[in-house]
Symmetry: C2
Subunit: 133 residues, 2 copies
DNA sequence: TATGCATTTCATAATAATTTGAAATAGATG
DNA sequence: CATCTATTTCAAATTATTATGAAATGCATA
């Protein structure tokens, strides 16, 4: 693990770079080319976008919700069929459906006595990810 | 919201379909073509795969971790630079890095006094998702 | 309007994730 | 070997998420 020489630079301690620690040379040289820490920060998505992304991932961070995603990728389904496939209580299912809905992965439509859920375009994008990983 | 007639079928109460509730006709007809509830279930990924997917999404369900993903999509970085960009304590950062590592989104490599993190191929796939949504 | 069914809502209990700060580890240097 | 720096580990406190079951809602039908 200790196979590289370790030239140390304190350039990053200068206030223009806002860094209070030393940095290994391999990292430092690349970082300089994009404007140091400040330059790196400008390449990040906005705070709002990052919140949105993490929230969306949270909506898929539970096995029940991932299962719902794949069930609905087959066809739109009413709550009772989803419930039957997964084998959980109605209130529990409702809780999970709501999280997915709030995050724009699914939408619901009342049809008579039933409520039918289907994937949104965003939901479909995530359902297709199975192939990519 | 109440715009469709509601023909009710109890076919799904027959044990071969394992359903104990009524189902709206629009859903029922499509469902029959894939073999009812049992057929639908066979189209799901395995339980292990679903666990894996939800775990991966969990690893991206926090703003700190999403930020790390995007920082590392620019270039490999040592912990101290990541820390400087995000502005959190070392132990907290370590906690989040570990979750991402356990889920195969990043790998670390010791270089002298520092530990350098970089995205795995899997991590890169998720970093690219920004463009898709 | 009374009833039945599908679904949601709500309060609460149970569980899990995150934060915190102190202590430990690991490598480099004097 | 003593010390410094970077990073991780650990236990405890805090906070967030999920599960549960009872009650409420909404639609349909008699």
């Amino acid at each position: 693990m200790t196979d590289t020489p370790l030239p140390i630079h304190r350039d990053f301690e200068r206030e223009e770079f806002e860094v209070r620690c030393e940095i290994p040379e391999t990292i430092r040289s690349d970082l300089m080319q994009i404007g140091g820490i400040p330059g790196l920060k400008t390449l990040l998505p906005s705070a709002g976008r990052i919140e949105e992304l993490s929230s969306t991932h949270h909506a898929l961070s539970d096995p029940v919700r991932v299962t719902i995603l794949y069930l609905l990728s087959v066809q739109p389904l009413c709550v009772c069929v989803i419930r039957e496939c997964i084998g959980i209580s109605g209130s529990k299912l409702s809780y999970h459906l709501n999280i997915m809905k709030e995050n724009g992965l699914i939408v619901s439509e009342q049809q008579g006595n039933w409520i039918i859920y289907r994937l949104t375009d965003k939901g479909k994008v995530f359902a297709e990810e199975l192939a990519r990983m």
